[in-house]
Symmetry: C2
Subunit: 233 residues, 2 copies
DNA sequence: CGCACCGTTGAGCAAGTTCAATCCAAGTGG
DNA sequence: CCACTTGGATTGAACTTGCTCAACGGTGCG
């Protein structure tokens, strides 16, 4: 559904169903913006590897992940890429400084999102201190994540980067220690500032050290105590 | 003044002068919070290398640089340090997620700041959408900076990092192309994720390439076109 | 089947680090 | 006032980490 149409046309089509979706219990009213009756998300879907928005495009919408996963990244002219974040279920993304997206967002896997128009949210923020505070709090949380990544990229070894990354992903999946990574080795490399070969070799090292076990490439089982020992702080 | 006393006692002492300072034209009412009559900053000073607040401390105040320069950083247990930002005149810093500072702030040189209590500002944000929007906008700007740094650290060479850094600092000093760096090589290294030796060598390379000239260590004159060519994007 | 993509592994290489020596400017104490 | 110390910066030489280039195996899909 929907991957051939645009967010704009989907929005128009969905307007008629707005009443139904805004009913309590329909699942679209939890979390940020929950108390904002005019801010109703429109469901939308993207296929694996599909671009959601590109750097430099006008930032008309913001997005909340319902199911699947999204990456945001920046690219240099020669193709070097830095992934700035992965967004799993419930994560909100697409808010930028100014009217233009300053990175690119793509779906890691087939992904369902809720789309919100940015303008009404910003207008709501200028009227409601509560909405504005929610936006502030969200931006601040993102800032903390970005600065943690800064420390990771600036001062940590490949082993530490991968270990920290796996612990982080595990946490976002509920902390069971066993999960399937939703992203490729290339995505991991471009997030951690490494090459795919180094990521692969580091996986092998960590497995030799008994810090994790791999199955079928993407599936991992973490030995969290040992991984935490690698990160050590 | 004031480097032996605490922000708390300075605040108390300054309360009596509040009326005077709040007069228009006294220079304390421009920029963010300008429209917020209760939010009056208290002048305060820090000596070179003095800590302003430490990671883990309760975040009671936020700060605006009046004169001088400040760095914020995180440290790993083994001493590796990542500077997350330099704050020059007019820059606001010290806002964190939650009630605790999650990095450390220190004065690069003798520095004068205005101190604001965080609580009243947060209370004002819950009442005034305008204040909350300013805070949001500030956080978003910081986020963009942090993500630019992420790209720098993850995917750029030493030459590109230093060139981008110098262009950035030049811009903050007015873009004349000639200025004295307010920070040491160690600070630059810890900001760019390099060692002091690499920073020094990279300075030498850039000078050989005619992209800048050095004088007395800290003083530099940039050949901005050539530096921009190094960064290339 | 054949191709494309993903992941792994090996060998050699290069960028940046580590260790060490030296220089210089600015204190500091006799 | 000068010897001595201290901290910042630069440079050289050896080393290490992670990168580049290359080959190969597995899996899914047209």
């Amino acid at each position: 559904m929907g991957t051939k149409s645009t967010p704009r046309s989907a929005l128009a089509a969905a307007r008629s169903r707005a009443l139904l979706r805004s009913l309590p219990g329909s699942g679209h009213r939890t979390g940020l913006f929950a108390n904002c009756p005019d801010l109703i998300g429109t469901p939308f879907s993207y296929a694996r590897e599909e671009e959601i928005y590109g750097e430099g495009e006008e930032a008309e919408f913001v997005y909340r992940v319902v199911e699947g996963a999204v990456r945001t990244h920046k690219v240099l002219s020669d193709g070097r890429r830095q992934i700035t974040g992965f967004h799993l279920a419930d994560s909100l993304f697409g808010f930028e400084q100014g009217d233009v997206h300053w990175h690119t967002a793509e779906a890691l896997s087939d992904t369902r999102v809720l789309i919100f128009q940015r303008r009404p949210i910003e207008r709501a923020a200028t009227r409601s201190a509560e909405v504005a505070c929610q936006l502030w709090s969200m931006a601040t949380a993102n800032l903390r994540d970005a600065q943690d990544l800064t420390l990771l990229l600036g001062r940590r070894s490949a082993q530490e980067r991968l270990a920290a990354f796996l612990i982080e992903v595990d946490g976002r999946f509920g902390g069971t220690g066993t999960f399937a990574l939703p992203m490729t080795r290339r995505d991991i490399a471009d997030y951690l500032g490494l090459t795919i070969e180094t990521v692969s070799r580091t996986f092998s090292q960590l497995e030799e050290d008994g810090a994790l076990r791999r199955a079928n490439g993407r599936q991992v089982t973490l030995h969290r105590a040992r991984l935490r020992h690698v990160v050590e702080d």
